[in-house]
């Protein structure tokens, strides 16, 4: 049967359904265990940037940024290029970012170093110890739930079927071919299956005898009550080893997160030490934060691959099997280009951006890893 089944209703799966149906292929079924964007997508920082340290990341994210602009206009959801600011408080980091900025510029991403005075013009910050920042003016933020909702609605209106509260328990194969997906609501037949199941991806593939080295690492984030727009860019404190970030989201709440010491595959459990440590990491830069109410705190997985790049495209062990997982904290921002590339792989056999071919599962099997150093929060 000529049908594509997508396991996972986060941004990667829904974006693939969107682009498959845009290309005129409508026999698409999405199965999602809970509600749309209920996994890593819905818990993310909502930031979107191309200021990475690998060529693959920069090029794919640049393409993704283009698509974010077009999709948000066409479908009507919040996306704003408010930029990213990487706060720098050591000479060593300053030197590092100078080099990095040259690398970005060579690939068409116009980042630049700015001085403390300019930082103060962009954000309401107390600059104790700050020596500068890297400004990425084309980075931005979007609404995770709305963007997924709008893409899902469009895909559905073009013929895709989306089953929420449906758990995929097993990818079913016959010989070396994929023939469908077993779910808790019955068997779904299909000759192509994309696993975009975030933290469940490793388990689904292990059942097929494929060992995909992904680690699910809990990440913690909180949001405050809402205020009028005060903070345009997403801000990162690069010289704090926990790499905290702070961003004001569409509705006006301040969303922040940071890295805590966590073992892979720890259950998603709130930690009593997160709230004080999180506030402390930002309150000296933004003392006004102390007067704001914290509303809610959640924990979601970063699904980490060995080289902090996603694993995309065909899994050659089985005909008709595809994967999009292991984004290592960058799955939301990459969502649009992920969907476009996967739709191309599935329908045309080849992605339109050649760099994407460096990110297949084959690179892991053959040990051709790519390095990424700018992983945050």
């Amino acid at each position: 049967m000529n049908r594509v089944i997508i396991v996972g209703g986060g941004i990667s799966g829904i974006s693939t359904a969107y682009f498959l149906t845009e290309k005129g292929f409508n026999n698409v079924v999405v199965v999602e265990e809970k509600y749309l964007a209920s996994g890593s997508t819905g818990g993310c920082a909502s930031g979107i940037r191309a200021s990475f340290t690998s060529r693959e990341h920069v090029i794919l994210m640049r393409e993704s940024i283009e698509l974010w602009g077009k999709l948000s206009q066409k479908l009507g959801f919040f996306y704003e290029r408010g930029g990213y600011l990487w706060l720098i408080s050591s000479e060593e980091s300053l030197k590092y970012f100078k080099e990095l900025s040259r690398f970005h510029n060579s690939l068409g991403v116009p980042t630049r170093l700015i001085d403390v005075e300019e930082v103060e013009k962009i954000i309401p910050i107390k600059v104790n110890g700050l020596i500068g920042a890297l400004h990425d003016p084309i980075a931005g933020k979007a609404n995770p739930f709305k963007s997924v909702e709008k893409m899902a609605e469009k895909a559905s209106s073009r013929g895709a079927t989306i089953h929420t509260w449906t758990r995929a328990s097993k990818i079913v194969t016959k010989g070396s071919k994929v023939i469908g997906v077993e779910t808790d609501k019955g068997f779904i037949e299909g000759d192509k299956v994309l696993i975009a199941a975030g933290s469940e991806t490793r388990k689904l593939l292990l059942d097929l005898g494929i060992n995909i080295p992904l680690k699910n690492v809990p990440h913690h984030a909180l949001i405050t009550e809402t205020f009028k727009p005060t903070l345009k860019p997403l801000v990162i404190d690069w010289d704090n080893p926990s790499k905290p970030y702070l961003v004001q989201v569409e509705e006006g709440g301040f969303l922040m997160g940071m890295e805590l010491e966590e073992e892979p595959d720890t259950p998603l459990t709130p930690r009593i030490d997160f709230l004080p440590r999180m506030i402390k990491s930002w309150s000296s830069w933004f003392p006004w934060l102390r007067n704001i109410n914290v509303l809610r705190y959640w924990v979601r997985y970063y699904v980490i691959s060995p080289d902090h790049h996603p694993i995309l495209g065909p899994v050659e062990d089985y005909e008709g099997l595809y994967v999009a997982a292991g984004f290592s904290g960058h799955g939301f921002m990459m969502g649009p280009i992920t969907g476009k590339l996967l739709a191309e792989w599935i329908l045309d056999g080849k992605p339109s951006v050649p760099e994407a071919e460096n990110l297949t599962f084959k690179r892991i099997v053959e040990g051709r890893l790519i390095e990424e150093k700018a992983v945050i929060g």
Binding site: Y35, E149, N293
Partner: protein, 92 residues
């Protein structure tokens, strides 16, 4: 429908019964999905007022028990707390 426009279900996010009915018609038929679609329960009350109202309304409307409607998890700190107070909790 005019009446329903004046009935507020979620005070924090200003969601009316009309909004709720429209979302249900569009296929958002569980509490987790309605929360993300309409932002019900995402404001300062964190759902203490509105989610209960919504749960009972949805249960009647769909003829399903509340336990089957996927009730969102309450999240810490449960009530809005000043960030400055939380910061003082750090004794490291």
């Amino acid at each position: 429908m005019g009446e329903k426009k004046r009935i507020i279900v979620c005070r924090c996010e200003d969601v009316t019964l009309e909004d709720v009915e429209k979302a249900i018609e569009e296929g958002y038929t569980d509490l987790e999905s309605l929360k993300r679609k309409l932002r019900i329960g995402m404001g300062p009350c964190q759902g203490r007022i509105c989610l209960d109202l919504l749960a009972r309304y949805l249960s009647r409307k769909l003829g399903k028990p509340i336990e089957e409607l996927h009730i969102p998890k309450p999240r810490p700190p449960l009530i809005p707390l000043k960030a400055g107070l939380l910061e003082e909790g750090d004794h490291e």
